[in-house]
């Protein structure tokens, strides 16, 4: 049931990401909805399906990207792992943990994407990537981080009513 919800959620998110979000760039950077939802889900208490959802989100993103298949899966798994570590460290301030995880997660996803391009033989100038993609993308992700965290918190209460709602 929970993985089915994840399948549906990330399917919709991938469609939104590829049709709408990519048409609203800031310079050349865009928000990464899939990353935000994965990180927000990984930060929820007692949620055990974070890795499964991470895999689903990564697979959907890979379908919509020409990057080597699996690049997004690896990037999202690392981002979710960091979010889990942060949750243990900053468990009293979940919003702070969300912002920190979004910050680190965005950098990781974009660096791994750059690595993916390098593997395919395309050299990306690091300074341009930093100014035009990484920083604008980071700003957009941080702006969306708190609303996404609230949505996922409500979803966690809905999917784990006995454990989180108490």
């Amino acid at each position: 049931m929970i993985n089915l919800v994840g399948l549906l959620l990330f399917g919709i998110l991938a469609i939104l990401q590829s049709t709408i979000v990519t048409r609203m760039p800031l310079l050349n950077g865009t928000a990464d909805l899939i990353l935000l939802f994965i990180v927000a889900w990984a930060l929820q208490d007692r949620v055990e399906s974070a890795w499964g959802w991470c895999l689903i989100g990564g697979l959907f993103a890979s379908i919509y990207s020409a990057l080597p298949f699996g690049t997004f899966v690896v990037a999202y798994l690392i981002a979710a792992g960091i979010a889990r570590v942060l949750k243990r460290r900053v468990w009293k301030a979940p919003f702070l943990a969300m912002l920190a995880a979004t910050f680190v997660g965005t950098i990781i996803v974009l660096l791994i994407s750059m690595l993916g391009r390098l593997i395919t033989g395309v050299n990306i100038p690091i300074l341009s990537a930093l100014n035009l993609i990484l920083l604008p993308g980071l700003l957009l992700n941080l702006m969306l981080a708190i609303p996404v965290f609230s949505i996922m918190h409500d979803m966690a209460i809905w999917l784990y009513p006995g454990e989180l709602g108490a």
């Binding site: 050349n28 990207s65 050299n123």
Partner: protein, 282 residues
């Protein structure tokens, strides 16, 4: 007999009084008197009428307000529907105009066979300048087929599934095309950039390149047919100590507004990789 006489007298007196009153009235002598009599009656009448209307409106107004609100809601709903229809029709008109220009382009270039496709998605990674179109191998599309619009070259098909295809745009950092400048015949290589811009490289130092020169595909390398419009030279950078000149190009196609594209289906790209000599270290 007496009573008959008195009645006749009374009748005559009444008629005379009546005639007298009529005469006085016609003469205007009764106007002040009539005013005195009529004015209170009119005042009373109007007072009563106003109160009656007030009571009537008090009773009937809530129904009117409710019915007016219902009508207003209905009209607003109808208005919204009509607005949606107007937007849909405007979109259809725009699409029809676009298709019409594409059909015109197709008629002018009878040597090529085209399939029209709609852009349905963009690559989710900001490092990749790719789009996904709604036609695939079931429609006869193959990897490497050039994709254009009526303005010029868009890119080529990088991957195909049964119902969709992924198109690498010419402004992708991994894209490299052999081009020729129409006016001077100078050959160069067009590369995509991370910013989504395109630029010319490998222009010989002896070549004369000017802003405004038209950039077209040369056909060299076998990836694209020749004479497809790409854009115009905007600025030229020439360094005295550099081996080659470079230039930035304004693409003819607006890549942020891609909706419908044409795929050239009768062009088969040539893979020249086996012909490129492999460098071996002694």
């Amino acid at each position: 007999m007496k009573s008959n006489t008195s009645r006749s007298t009374q009748l005559i007196i009444v008629i005379l009084i009546a005639m007298g009153l009529v005469g006085l009235a016609l003469g205007g002598y009764l106007t002040p008197l009539s005013r005195i009599l009529v004015n209170p009656i009119v005042s009373a009448q109007s007072w009563l009428a106003k109160r009656y209307q007030a009571v009537q409106s008090l009773i009937t107004q809530p129904e009117d307000v409710t019915s007016l609100r219902q009508k207003n809601a209905q009209l607003e709903a109808e208005n919204s529907k009509l607005q949606v229809q107007v937007i849909e029709l405007q979109q259809q008109v725009t699409e029809a105009q676009l298709l019409s220009t594409l059909v015109d382009y197709e008629r002018k270039h009878v040597e090529n066979q085209f399939i029209a496709a709609t852009v349905i998605a963009r690559d989710v990674s900001p490092f990749m300048h790719y789009v996904i179109i709604d036609r695939g191998s079931d429609d006869g599309l193959r990897k490497g087929m050039p994709v254009i619009t009526q303005q010029g070259l868009v890119g080529n098909i990088a991957a195909v599934t049964a119902g969709a295809a992924r198109v690498q745009l010419i402004n992708d950092p991994g894209s490299s095309i052999n081009v020729i400048l129409q006016q001077t015949g100078v050959e160069a290589v067009l590369n995509g950039q991370l910013t989504g811009e395109i630029g010319l490289e490998m222009i010989s130092q002896n070549a004369t390149v000017q802003p405004g020169d038209l950039v077209m595909t040369s056909g060299l390398g076998g990836n694209y047919p020749d004479n497809l419009v790409i854009g115009q030279v905007v600025t030229v950078r020439s360094d005295a100590f550099a081996l080659f000149q470079s230039a930035s190009v304004q693409p003819a196609v607006d890549f942020s507004q891609l909706d419908i594209v044409l795929v050239i289906t009768n062009f088969q790209p040539v893979d020249i990789t086996p012909l490129i000599p492999v460098q071996t270290n002694p």
